[in-house]
Symmetry: C2
Subunit: 290 residues, 2 copies
């Protein structure tokens, strides 16, 4: 079983009659559970099998519900946790930028599901994760995953295979992308208004010849959040605070108090020409606070 | 003149008889100087014209010498500085992840130069920059640039066009990549040995479900530095210290004292199982300290 990355000999789009067949081919190391992996190594594969009604499938983008909180009849009866081994494996995949194999099953009956059996749809990358109250009224964790196989993928798929076991014990060392910081004309504008000062911690990260900062979209661009690329939806952050904001380690109250690891940590730094949209702050917060 | 990004109607590989023709086509906004751009907007274009003997051309990767320090006969007679407007434009392109148009002239007579005239070779991204004592004995700044046009580029070239002026004043908003953090099995191993604690500042950047850290190659992988992907050449850093280390705002002495903005800032944090290679520390330092 390939721990992480593509499986030699298995093509994107290849079909399997059953989970057992997919297991035998080395695509997914579980016969029932959706997530295959460990916190230490990350997730090797997930299966979209229709078991979680909060899943969303947009083809190149999947909103995948984490594991846990269900009774033996697969009814959601409790909150999910990140301590769950499957969920913690997906968090590791996010933190390390590791590719995850996606197996789609017939049960969700979306336009992207195979008519029968299971189909291997290639490697995906976890773009972000967050919490919401699911349809059954319990907190669930969801992982937004994007395909690395499509032409518009953030990274060509080939170099994303890591630790690909070849014949025998030889392993090819390859590079994955752990983090991608995107830039738009709007994020540049917001960073310029703040002179690169982090709105959360106040730091100006000085480097020879300039100041380094990042523009963070409060409500993420693209599916499923569809946040707009406007200054009101952007914060100027240092890289450390950006990582913490994206993962919900930091969020903001309606009074723009910075909550870091659940503790008050000063107020959001603002400048007159940059208004921060409260709706986006709220949208971000609902994914990270109870 | 397109400020930044591709020029509508100009193909990669298109040839021009002279700098004047390239100027008229909107590829490069200068007739003599190598760098076209400003600190505020970044660099729109550079021209490889053989004027700086320290330039290196590997095709998809170019080591481009900054501007300045030469007399009227183009002899290097002084150190270069980042205050130079062309160099500061390239620093902005680095910090913001902006694409730079590359024009190759006939003069360097490398295997990648056109036989005569000038050729537009598409968009490049600045991977890193640093200092060295050039062949003439003065400090020069050099920018390592990598093509965004090749199949193995870190990002498909298409989305890298930013602020592309179309007919009239309409501008398409597009996304560039400001920063890419790469990951290998070796960087993951080093990060695990340190439990994600930054070796420079001691911080563990906690996020829900884990700790976020980055593996920094001390001597960069790939051309021209060709640093090895081994634990001795990797540090476990928080994103802020990683940015400062890559840009030389932080470097290390042989005694592993952390020099931040030229001031002592504690010692490198180490763990018994992770030996840091002094040769790599020295190689990094020579690019950033006098």
């Amino acid at each position: 079983m390939s721990a992480i990355g593509a499986v030699p000999g298995v093509e994107v789009g290849q079909e399997f009659a059953s989970r057992e067949e997919a297991y035998a081919a080395g695509v997914h190391g579980q016969l029932q559970a959706g997530i295959y992996g460990t916190k230490k190594r990350g997730a090797g594969a997930i299966c979209l099998s229709g078991g979680y009604k909060d899943d969303e499938d947009y083809g190149d983008v999947i909103v995948y519900t984490g594991h846990g909180g269900r009774d033996s009849r697969k009814k959601q009866v409790a909150h999910q946790t990140l301590a769950d081994s499957g969920n913690s494996a997906l968090v590791t995949s996010y933190l390390e930028g590791l590719p995850v194999r996606v197996l789609r099953g017939y049960q969700p009956r979306t336009k992207y599901s195979p008519k029968e059996g299971y189909r291997y749809d290639g490697l995906f990358r976890i773009r972000e994760y967050g919490w919401k109250i699911g349809l059954d009224g319990y907190w669930i964790v969801q992982f937004t995953m994007e395909s690395l196989e499509s032409p518009s993928s953030p990274e060509p798929a080939a170099p994303s295979d890591t630790l690909k076991p070849e014949a025998g014990k030889a392993r090819r060392k390859e590079t994955t992308v752990q983090r991608i910081v995107r830039n738009t004309a709007i994020t540049r504008k917001v960073k310029a208004l703040h002179g690169g000062r982090c709105q959360l911690c106040g730091q100006k990260l000085e480097v020879p010849g300039g100041v380094y900062s990042e523009g963070a979209h409060i409500q993420a661009l693209g599916k499923p959040h569809e946040g707009p690329d406007i200054p009101e939806n952007v914060l100027c952050l240092c890289p450390n605070c950006h990582v913490q904001f994206d993962t919900g380690a930091v969020y903001l109250t309606d009074d723009l108090v910075v909550m870091r690891h659940g503790q008050e940590d000063g107020k959001l730094l603002t400048v007159p020409k940059h208004r921060v949209g409260l709706a986006y702050i709220q949208s971000h917060r609902t994914r990270w606070s109870e």
